[in-house]
Amino acid sequence: MFMEFENVNYTYRGSRVPALQNLTLRIPTGKRCALIGQNGCGKTTLFLLANGLYQPQKGTIRWHDRPLRYDRSSLMQLRQQVGLVFQDPEQQLVASTVEEDISYGLYNLGLPTHEVARRVQQALIEFKLTELAGTPVHHLSLGQKKRVAIADVMVLRPQLLLLDEPTAYLDPRQTRNLLKLLDDIQTTGTTVFIATHDLDFVYCWADWVMVMDQGQLVMEGTPQSVFAQRQIMEDLELGIPTLLELLAKLSDPENDNYAYDQSAIGIEKLQRQILKSLKCL
């Protein structure tokens, strides 16, 4: 097993509600994993724990079947193998130009300058950042910053890439580009694990979905099987992807019990249109 959480508890200092409560979770190798759940369900905490930034107060986290160790060199190694892309790229970019920022993590690994130069140049090409190489970070757009933030982490060649809400604040075009980028990363053999609110994105992209609520894993499985549990998804107030909603509506046009969210009106319109065109055939 790749990365494994076993009965992990974590409570923030000064908070009475635990952020993670007896969480047991396994991240399978090589899959496109998505983590969904409401705000405050512990997704970010999970990532910070996986990256060794926090230590669990109870339970164990295993990486390649070994419990995490928190001494300097083990952490260094862990953070090279498990890359974390924060939600806010502003938080992650620290150097003044794009190429300098990408090189930062490589120097921290202790690589010699010529190797750093080679890898930075390679990353600039891979992530289509060549033209921005000398641009100061504060002159970039948000989509570009996000791209740089992912390049920063990918340049270290991690085995597991954690992304916290990567589509937040991105426009549809930037989201599409990001999807393409994640696909490319996936094909190089890196396992991608994404925390997100974007169900449509999950439905299109993921092949394994985990659902968290109040610091616990509620459900996991393929998108089809998870989203088939409509009742649970509705109880958690997460809903299901628009496409599936439409499909359900089409297969059972009379039933409108589950017209509960804002997309319901749009779906009804679409349903009428589809039924109309079907009749025309």
Partner: protein, 267 residues
């Protein structure tokens, strides 16, 4: 949110010149302004103006606006330099110096020749030396300055601090700008009293957010394996065309020559 000066530093035409050369050039000129006469100072100011506006292609309006800053400071100190007071009984001692004067109660207020002379000297020196400074600010990006500092063996701790400060000035500015816009939208600056209140809130919030930001940044530095030293790599390549090399060399020698000549002849 961008600082305009910073944007110019990254986009000007002299960007590809080696930063060391540009810094050296500015330092030499600055030294000359300290030891030279008004004439040479005016020449330096004009020459740097040419470098900034024509060679670096910084819009003249921007440069002139920047130059107006020291001039405003000079104007505010002008009265103190030019106007002098003396008791009426000592009037005899200053008749040579007074250009124009009036009696104010038991004192005599007058515009002094010496003061005028001094303030003109100050103006030329101010303009010449600030234009040297602006040359650096407008044509050398901050990263290049840092790179140069590292090369000449400046303490690592200080260059890292400067780097982080530089990066976060922009984050802070952005947060401040966003907060300010939000307050403005909601009518926070309608009256003087409200403005003061909003400003107080803004400053308080800034402090809080800065701390929050600091926490998150240190988290991400740690996540990226930050282990003490902050090292980065860049691929910039610099080139100093002979044309600039010759012009700067020739110009500096001429200016030094002029300064020396003025000393010899006691001007």
């Amino acid at each position: 949110m961008n600082l305009q000066i910073d944007t110019f530093a990254y986009t000007n035409r002299l960007r590809r010149l080696p930063p060391e050369s540009k810094l050296l050039f500015a330092i030499v000129l600055l030294l000359i302004t300290y030891f030279s006469t008004i004439l040479v100072q005016c020449l330096i100011a004009a020459w740097i103006g040419i470098w900034i506006i024509i060679y670096a292609k910084i819009p003249a309006s921007v440069y002139l606006r920047l130059l107006s800053v020291p001039i405003v400071f000079w104007l505010t100190s002008l009265p103190a330099f030019v106007i002098s007071f003396t008791p009426l009984q000592d009037l005899v001692t200053i008749t040579q110096d007074a250009a124009y004067g009036i009696t104010v109660f038991s004192h005599f207020a007058y515009i002094s020749h010496q003061g005028i002379d001094q303030s003109v000297r100050l103006l030329s020196q101010t303009i010449a030396s600030t234009s040297c400074l602006y040359f650096v600010l407008l044509t050398v990006p901050f990263t290049d300055i840092l790179q140069t500092l590292r090369r000449i063996g400046f303490p690592v701790l200080l260059t890292e601090l400067l780097l982080l400060m530089y990066r976060f000035i922009f984050v802070l500015l952005q947060i401040a700008h966003e907060l300010w816009t939000a307050q403005l939208c909601r009518g926070g600056y309608r009256t003087w009293k409200l403005s003061m209140n909003s400003l107080g809130l803004l400053i308080g919030q800034l402090l809080q957010r800065t701390l929050d930001h600091y926490h998150r940044i240190s988290q991400s530095l740690e996540s990226r394996g930050g282990a003490g030293e902050f090292r980065v790599w860049h691929s910039r390549q610099y080139h100093l065309p002979d044309r600039y090399r010759l012009e700067s060399l020739f110009g500096c020698v001429t200016l030094i020559g002029l300064t020396g000549w003025a000393y010899v002849h006691g001007i």
